[in-house]
């Protein structure tokens, strides 16, 4: 991660703590009748550490500018967010949102097929077996424990068959 990214993150954190001070605490804490002392204390800590982080980010940026072409990034951390994790997030989100409507079995089946492709599965047969077996096993374990998972057409069909 370069110094510019570090500065951006520090900026976002400072912005968030200011938003907390001037909007969130008054509307979400004080207005609800709660004492703002502790949230203000924690928010102040966040602001102070974010300012310190920004200070070091500026120092790092200046160092990089001075040593242009020879320096490494003086910051820490990973790097860019990649496409596969984002795809997993979107697919997992779609699965979670659709579970209420499609039921656990169908939504999990579709999720596992797509997620295994995201993770680079080359074997359709193994992915298919797992996508059918896993939701069914989990469903019947929960059914055996008298605990309900979100129900949809597949679950209703099973209930009809088993009575």
């Amino acid at each position: 991660m370069n110094a510019r990214s570090e500065l951006s993150i520090a900026g976002v954190l400072i912005g968030f703590s200011l938003l907390n001070y001037f909007y969130l605490i008054p509307t979400q804490v004080v207005a609800e009748g709660s004492s703002p002392v502790y949230p203000m204390l924690v928010n102040t800590m966040l602001l102070c550490f974010s300012l310190a982080y920004m200070g070091d980010g500026i120092r790092c940026w200046r160092q990089q500018k001075k040593a242009e072409g020879e320096g490494q990034a003086c910051s820490t951390g990973g790097g860019k967010v990649m496409m596969r994790p984002l795809a997993m997030l979107v697919v997992t989100g779609a699965w979670v949102l659709s579970m209420e409507y499609l039921g656990f079995i169908i939504s999990t089946f579709v999720f596992l097929i797509i997620a295994s492709r995201i993770f680079g599965s080359k074997s359709w047969s193994k992915a298919l077996i797992m996508s059918v077996a896993m939701p069914l096993i989990i469903y019947f374990v929960f059914r055996g424990l008298n605990a309900l998972l979100p129900e949809g057409p597949a679950e209703e069909l099973i209930n009809l068959i088993l009575g």
């Binding site: 804490v29 966040l46 795809a87």
Partner: protein
């Protein structure tokens, strides 16, 4: 001292049953499998199993989780030895010498050294826990709100100031902690019962569930991280490269034990001490112990080329962390590590609040746990681990990561859903999982966040109670010698660490970058 032995006897009578021993064995097996798979740690397995412990007996549930933790603590060294792919971050220190020893044909030797070093370190740590917990619990009963608040602040500060190679690491660590403290304020105010940060959503009145947060920040974010590495898991040539396997005789075992004894003892105590300090995990302990063993060895030592001390020291150190990390949990009710935080959750699910009161009122439960901990190392190592090594080898060679990680996500979601049967929680789970992923990409450590999230309500309650007692005067924190001492220590630790980083010195406890998060 006599009282401790009486309690241990009562605990043994209470806890030693076929079911609890079965729980240890099952837990150890799960821990070995989880710990051997890179990307899945024992803590992840503990977190996934946690919601299902609701229906289990308390000691069975806790034995199961301890078995997983101990099994995972050893298991990372199996794949580290056989394939040079550490199953857990702490095993990376072991791999530095165990893999070269394996390549020289000494597979049995390297795996067994790791095994008995684990048992040695774990046993020393268990005994330290047994004999230090009771006096510490008595001291803890005398601590009031300002002292407890100061202790929590010191705990949260200590981990950040001891780790990290730069000042930015320190600031990011503190930011991680404050974000955890902030998340803990969501829900009903625990003193006035009024709502905070719920944005009109009733489902948030009870705050963000603890199990959900841990699973999201640890397991789900890890799946996102692993998604970046698709295609990069490859086995080393080790499986085919070794043309002969050299037998390991009893004479050689005895010789290795004598050779490594000094490092074993030192690493066990160092690991136990580091484990008792909040936030310092097995990875740090493993690398510190490896570094110390290397520094104290003679110039002709073969570290990096299959020196047995290079295996024994980190393994003893990282296993010693397991029991000693429970010391703050059992004596003070303050979890000092993520695994201890999971154990805290397990106690809460069973309706017990860990801390000095539990030790005073139900000593048979706590001492029963101690007895089971002592047994876990021996039972797990010699009944489970040795036979399981070949199973782990087969699992690792055949494991299909493209199916495994999606399966982990399903287990996570089902576990979160099973806690309250509320679909809304799954949305929070997803958001937190992504936040955890982004934090890791930004170089912010997750364990301090989780510790702060768990300790946040305790910190708030004690801070506000202290202020109530003093009519809102913060001087109460200065008037108490213990609280003042802890606050001074916290500030001094921060100041010292900042001064060191400014001078360009590396972190006191060096851990390679890729194993920090």
């Amino acid at each position: 001292m006599g009282e401790i032995f009486n309690h241990l006897w009562d605990g043994a009578v209470y806890a030693l049953s076929a079911w609890n021993i079965l729980a240890i064995i099952i837990g150890y097996i799960i821990g070995i499998i989880a710990g051997a798979i890179p990307g899945v740690m024992a803590v992840t397995a503990m977190v996934l199993i946690l919601p299902y412990t609701f229906t289990l007996e308390p000691l069975f549930a806790i034995s199961l989780l301890m078995g997983i933790y101990k099994g995972g603590a050893y298991a990372g060294s199996i794949t580290a030895t056989l394939f040079n792919i550490p199953g857990t971050p702490e095993a990376a220190a072991t791999a530095l010498d165990s893999y070269p020893m394996f390549k020289q044909g000494m597979q049995k030797r390297s795996l067994e050294i790791a095994l008995w070093a684990s048992v040695f370190g774990g046993t020393v740590s268990n005994l330290l826990l047994v004999f230090t917990a009771p006096p510490l619990a008595e001291v803890a009963l005398r601590l009031g709100p300002p002292e407890i608040a100061a202790l929590i602040l010191f705990s949260l500060t200590a981990v950040i100031t001891l780790l990290g190679d730069s000042r930015m690491d320190i600031w990011k660590g503190f930011i991680s902690i404050t974000l955890g403290l902030m998340l803990a304020t969501v829900g009903l105010d625990n003193m006035s019962a009024s709502r905070r940060y719920v944005f009109g959503i009733e489902d948030l009145d009870n705050g963000v569930p603890f199990v959900l947060t841990i699973i999201a920040m640890l397991a789900l974010s890890e799946v996102f991280i692993q998604a970046e590495k698709v295609g990069s898991f490859t086995l080393g040539d080790a499986a085919g490269a070794v043309s002969r396997i050299i037998p390991y005789t009893w004479k050689q075992r005895w010789k290795d034990l004598k050779f490594c004894l000094k490092d074993l003892i030192r690493s066990s105590f160092v690991g136990s001490l580091l484990g008792a300090l909040p936030g310092i995990g097995a990875t740090t302990a493993a690398f510190v112990c490896y570094g110390e063993a290397r520094r104290s060895a003679k110039k002709d030592a073969r570290f990096g080329n299959g020196d047995p001390r290079g295996i024994a020291a980190p393994e003893a150190g990282n296993n010693a962390v397991a029991a000693s990390s429970l010391i703050p949990l059992i004596t003070l009710g303050i979890p000092g590590s993520v695994a201890a935080a999971v154990m805290y959750g397990a106690f809460m699910i069973q309706g017990m609040i860990p801390g000095p009161m539990l030790m005073m009122e139900h000593p048979e439960i706590i001492y029963g746990l101690f007895v089971l901990l002592i047994i876990t190392d021996f039972l797990g190592a010699f009944v489970v681990a040795l036979p399981f090594i070949s199973v782990v080898q087969k699992i690792f060679k055949n494991l299909n990561y493209s199916l495994f990680f999606p399966g982990v996500v399903v287990c996570c979601v089902v576990g979160v859903y099973a806690e309250e049967f509320n679909v809304f929680n799954l949305r929070i789970f997803l958001m937190l999982g992504f936040v955890g992923y982004i934090m890791r990409k930004m170089g912010m450590s997750i364990p301090p966040f989780i510790l702060a999230f768990i300790l946040g309500p305790i910190l708030e309650r004690n801070t506000r109670t202290a202020l109530l007692l003093s009519n809102d005067s913060p001087m109460i924190f200065v008037q108490s010698p213990i609280a003042l001492g802890l606050l001074i220590l916290a500030v001094a630790a921060l100041g010292w660490s900042l001064w060191r980083k400014t001078r360009g010195a590396k972190g006191v406890l060096e851990v390679p970058e890729e194993f920090k998060h």
